[in-house]
């Protein structure tokens, strides 16, 4: 298997309190060095709480944001100039809010034609054919093409968003919370569509979500993000069943599950660290029930935990202690 996507030390800092001249008042480390590999044909799930840097990471991968540091390699070729049209042919993005990802003043046909025209300089007749093919693949009727976005439900709009991403003929899709704006019954429709497209077209997915159960249901591997850094990576079936990082365990214990008793899984401080004023050492320390002295001094790197699972923790949860 070859790597479809390879990130090395990818970092993004945002200056805050910018002034017209001179340095900014502070810096937020939205993504701290992230190193990840996504194999061709794989679905890598990314979970984390709001504000942990999921979308920032995703936007860097498609060139909508330029990284502060680090490299992105797509299908073996490094791409480091943030130029979305350069990226667009190889990697595409499916947005969280399906309606606002469609220009309200363009017909669906105009939306669909843009990538064909600008990325592939396709002639008109060929575009027509191609759009028909794609629409068939995502189960949308061709008569929709001459309508405007407001005439569609969220689920339909999301299919259009997926169709647009397919039109660019990218083989890697970044799915940024693609179903969280949808209702559960429609969510399942879209997830199934994504699964089928992947099988039929041999796509690679990076699937971002805050919903653990959804991520687990669609992913081969899962990476858990906390405060801008990957704290645990492993096979989807293992990560939540046998988490090694205390944060992953907290997440898994917090998810409401039928048949599990309600109890607050955490007695200590609950706030995320202040991004302008990050703590030293492990970012999870203030909330961590397993913290040891070393955690205050050093920032734990990702470490092999056996059986292919990596966790960034000095005092990981023992292997036997499964999530309750």
């Amino acid at each position: 298997m070859s790597a479809a996507l390879k990130l090395e030390n990818l970092t993004k800092d945002f200056p805050v309190g910018k002034r017209m001249f001179g340095p900014p008042r502070g810096v937020v480390h939205a993504v701290r060095p992230v190193t990840l590999t996504v194999e061709t044909g794989e679905t890598l799930g990314i979970v984390g709480e709001s504000g942990c840097g999921k979308s920032t990471l995703a936007r860097m991968l498609v060139g909508l944001l330029s990284p502060t540091d680090g490299t992105i390699e797509i299908e073996g070729a490094a791409l480091d100039n943030a130029d979305p049209s350069e990226f667009g042919r190889k990697i595409q993005y499916v947005f969280q809010d399906p309606i606002s990802s469609l220009n309200p003043r363009k017909t669906i046909r105009q939306v669909m034609e843009a990538p064909l025209k600008h990325l592939h300089s396709m002639p008109k007749a060929r575009r027509r054919e191609r759009i028909a093919e794609i629409f068939d693949a995502v189960n949308l009727r061709e008569e929709f093409l001459d309508r405007y976005p407001h005439e569609f439900s969220g689920g339909q709009a999301q299919r259009i968003g997926i169709a647009r991403a397919l039109a660019a003929e990218a083989r890697i899709l970044i799915l940024d919370e693609p179903v969280s704006a949808l209702d559960v019954s429609v969510q399942a429709q879209v997830l199934n569509l994504l699964a089928r497209l992947k099988a039929e077209l041999g796509l690679t997915y990076l699937f971002i979500s805050h919903d653990l159960a959804v991520v687990e249901a669609v992913s081969d591997r899962v990476a858990v993000l906390y405060f801008g850094a990957v704290v645990e990576v492993g096979r989807a079936e293992d990560v939540f069943r046998a988490p090694r990082h205390p944060y992953t365990k907290l997440l898994a214990d917090s998810a409401p599950v039928v048949g599990r008793d309600l109890k607050a899984p955490e007695g200590r401080e609950t706030e995320l660290p202040d991004p302008l004023n990050p703590p030293t050492g492990c970012a999870f320390r203030a909330r961590c029930p397993r913290a040891v002295d070393r955690c205050a001094a050093e920032d734990p790197p990702l470490m092999e935990m056996g059986s292919g699972q990596l966790a960034a923790c000095f005092n990981p949860v023992p292997e036997g202690e499964a999530a309750k």
């Binding site: 017209m20 049209s85 439900s153 559960v184 019954s185 429709q189 917090s254 706030e271």
Partner: protein, 647 residues
């Protein structure tokens, strides 16, 4: 409906448009009308009264015909007013779009310049420009246009920033479009309505300003007439010959008023929020339009709804958001209401205390008994006394539901003092107590925080504290944890659960998450398209759902710990509540639907708190039709050829 038709429907705007068109026509044909030459003086008939000597509107102090000067002057004033509006709109919009789209330093520098110009009281700038260029009509035009550029630039920049951050602009970038193309095809079409609105609401103002400069003698120069300079001259003989001032003054008034009326019409038609009537003020309590008698009290709980119906009456459509909901909660009980978005959960909850926004909401039937008293149609004073005291609410998004400008302490104190005559000090002590009860760390210092200074979880704790302030009997929680992260959600849920146990609260808990329901609620009601389709104890419903919808809904939600797999989707979409089908509302998506399902309304059938609204339920429910097990709910394998089209 087209914009023009919308404007025409607005009667005032229509009149404004008609008058304006008449004035413009008159101005256009002026050169061909049989008028005195506008500048021909006649010393023998100075300041003639209306109609004297064949001068319909009299003459001015040089004996010039006022009617002729009026029409010629109108031409000039209109032309200058519109020209300056167009110039200001185009330049201002260009600056605004560039600044808003590119952001960063470009934005910073452009906007600082604009701020600088706005730093002047605008007339000073206009006067300075006229002073430099010299008095004259063209220079007045330049001055008026220049001082109005900032208004457009700021306005359009604001809108552009909003659009430039929309996801469709990102999508366009990913589709390989360049900046110029994105500005022209993605941004501009969305900004044009705003430009039109801004221009149409400022043309009138610019006409006033140009007339003003002429009035001061800085615009059109003698002998050429324009409305402002005519008024300026009339002012000199105001006391002796007031009638000379009437025609130009009224003409300006007519022009500007018709433009303003039309402009308001254009604004209302182009602004989507105004178009849908969303800017109407919600009344203190929901309108009640109950036909027929209130259903009797059944004495089944502390809060009891019977056949509650609420609809939204918009101009041409009626949305039946809640179509006859019957529910009851006992003290100490937690009832979950679960359903998809738009199924009417929130409207049901808000109807209890008459909090549905009205207009357009109307409660059209049923009763809500709180401790045996019907709140539907109750006098406002009585209803207000119940709100927050007997029945309290916790809402979804704690940032939006707490007042941003009051400290959380003040908001808690207010909640107590609207119902109890206690001193400020006592109320504050109670507020502190409440904050401690909801386990806010450092309550003493937190009490003086503003909501924006707290995290989402803390804010929701404040929301809960506020609900507890008056020891209510019933708490209605409308998705109180949906906006929160899972780890925070778990804490809030356990807090609610503890409070319920300690205080014997009756809780109505609205959610769309079965996991949450399973952990917190004793009983569940499942809503679909404005109705309850199934009701029962949580364990019954999760173990053996009787309604086909419930069964499928449970199956299509992935659950943690089941590994990678396909999901059993429900094909299609819920029906729109303004076009509900006859019979069972779920029939279009139900694999077991038969003709009889679509004929008559299906009743909620059952007994002892377990009921289902289905003719062929999936599981045995006493008092309901016999179970007819349907096809097993199975997820199609991942390589299945086609997912059912959503239509």
């Amino acid at each position: 409906m087209t914009t023009l038709a919308l404007i025409a429907r607005n009667r005032l705007a229509l009149w404004g448009g008609i008058v304006l068109i008449l004035v413009i026509l008159l101005a256009l044909v002026t050169p061909w009308l049989p008028l005195y030459p506008p500048n021909a003086t006649d010393p023998s008939i100075k300041n003639a009264w209306f109609g004297e000597e064949g001068h319909l509107l009299g003459t001015d102090h040089l004996g010039r015909d006022i009617l002729s000067r009026l029409l010629w002057g109108t031409r000039v004033s209109l032309a200058i007013g519109f020209a300056s509006a167009v110039i200001a709109a185009v330049l201002g919009a260009a600056i605004g779009i560039v600044a808003g789209y590119f952001g960063g330093r470009t934005d910073n520098i452009l906007m600082r310049l604009i701020d600088l110009i706005m730093g002047f009281p605008y007339i000073l700038l206009a006067l300075a420009i006229v002073a430099a260029l010299g008095p004259g009509l063209m220079n007045a035009l330049i001055a008026v246009a220049a001082v109005n550029i900032p208004f457009f630039a700021r306005n359009i920049r604001g809108v552009t920033v909003g659009i430039a951050h929309k996801e469709f602009v990102d999508a366009a970038k990913l589709a390989g479009m360049g900046h110029v193309r994105i500005i022209l095809t993605e941004i501009l079409p969305n900004v044009v309505p705003v430009i039109v609105v801004a221009a149409s609401t400022t043309v009138g103002w610019m006409i006033l300003e140009t007339a003003g400069l002429s009035f001061l003698g800085l615009g059109s120069q003698p002998p050429d007439p324009d409305l402002g300079s005519m008024l300026g001259l009339a002012k000199d003989s105001l006391i002796t010959d007031p009638h000379v001032s009437y025609p130009p003054g009224l003409m300006i008034l007519i022009i500007v008023m018709s433009i303003n009326l039309l402009g308001d019409g254009i604004r209302d038609a182009l602004d989507p929020r105004l178009r849908s009537g969303a800017l109407s003020r919600p009344a203190a309590a929901t309108t009640v339009d109950r036909r027929g008698a209130a259903p009797a009290f059944r004495d089944e709980g502390i809060l009891e709804m019977t056949d509650l119906s609420t609809e939204f009456r918009l101009k041409r459509r009626t949305y039946k958001a809640v179509g006859g909901v019957t529910l009851a909660v006992k003290p100490g009980e937690c009832l979950g209401i679960i359903g998809e978005s738009g199924s009417g959960k929130s409207v049901t909850a808000l109807s209890v205390m008459g909090l549905v926004a009205s207009p357009p909401g109307v409660i059209t039937g049923g009763a809500v008994y709180v401790e045996g008293e019907d709140t539907v149609g109750m006098p406002y004073r009585q209803l207000r006394a119940l709100r927050g005291d007997r029945v309290a609410y916790i809402f979804q998004d704690p940032l939006a539901t707490l007042h941003p400008l009051f400290t959380v302490g003040d908001q808690l104190v207010e909640a107590i003092r609207v119902h109890h005559r206690v001193s400020d000090k006592e109320a504050r002590a109670k507020a502190l107590e409440l904050l401690k009860q909801v386990r806010i760390p450092n309550a003493e210092s937190r009490i003086d925080s503003y909501p924006h200074e707290m995290s989402g979880g803390m804010r929701q704790r404040v929301g809960i504290a506020m609900a507890l302030a008056n020891d209510p009997e019933v708490i209605i929680a409308d998705e109180p944890t949906t906006a929160l992260d899972v780890t925070v959600q778990a804490q809030i849920l356990s807090l609610l659960s503890d409070l319920r146990r300690e205080r014997g609260l009756a809780i109505v808990f609205i959610t769309h998450d079965f996991g949450v329901v399973a952990q917190l609620c004793d009983r569940v009601a499942v809503m679909y398209a404005g109705r309850i389709v199934e009701e029962g104890s949580t364990s019954d419903i999760l173990r053996s759902p009787a309604h086909p919808y419930t069964k499928r809904l449970i199956a299509c939600v992935p659950e943690l710990g089941e590994g990678k797999r396909a999901l059993a989707a429900i094909p299609g979409l819920p029906p729109a509540v303004d076009r509900l089908p006859d019979g069972c509302h779920f029939a279009d998506r139900c694999p077991k639907a038969r003709d009889v399902c679509r004929q008559d309304d299906v009743a909620l059938m059952g007994q002892g708190g377990r009921a289902v609204r289905c003719l062929f339920p999936e599981a045995e429910v006493p008092g309901a039709p016999e179970a007819v097990p349907g096809p097993p709910v199975e997820a199609e394998p991942i390589t299945a050829d086609r997912v059912e089209a959503a239509q």
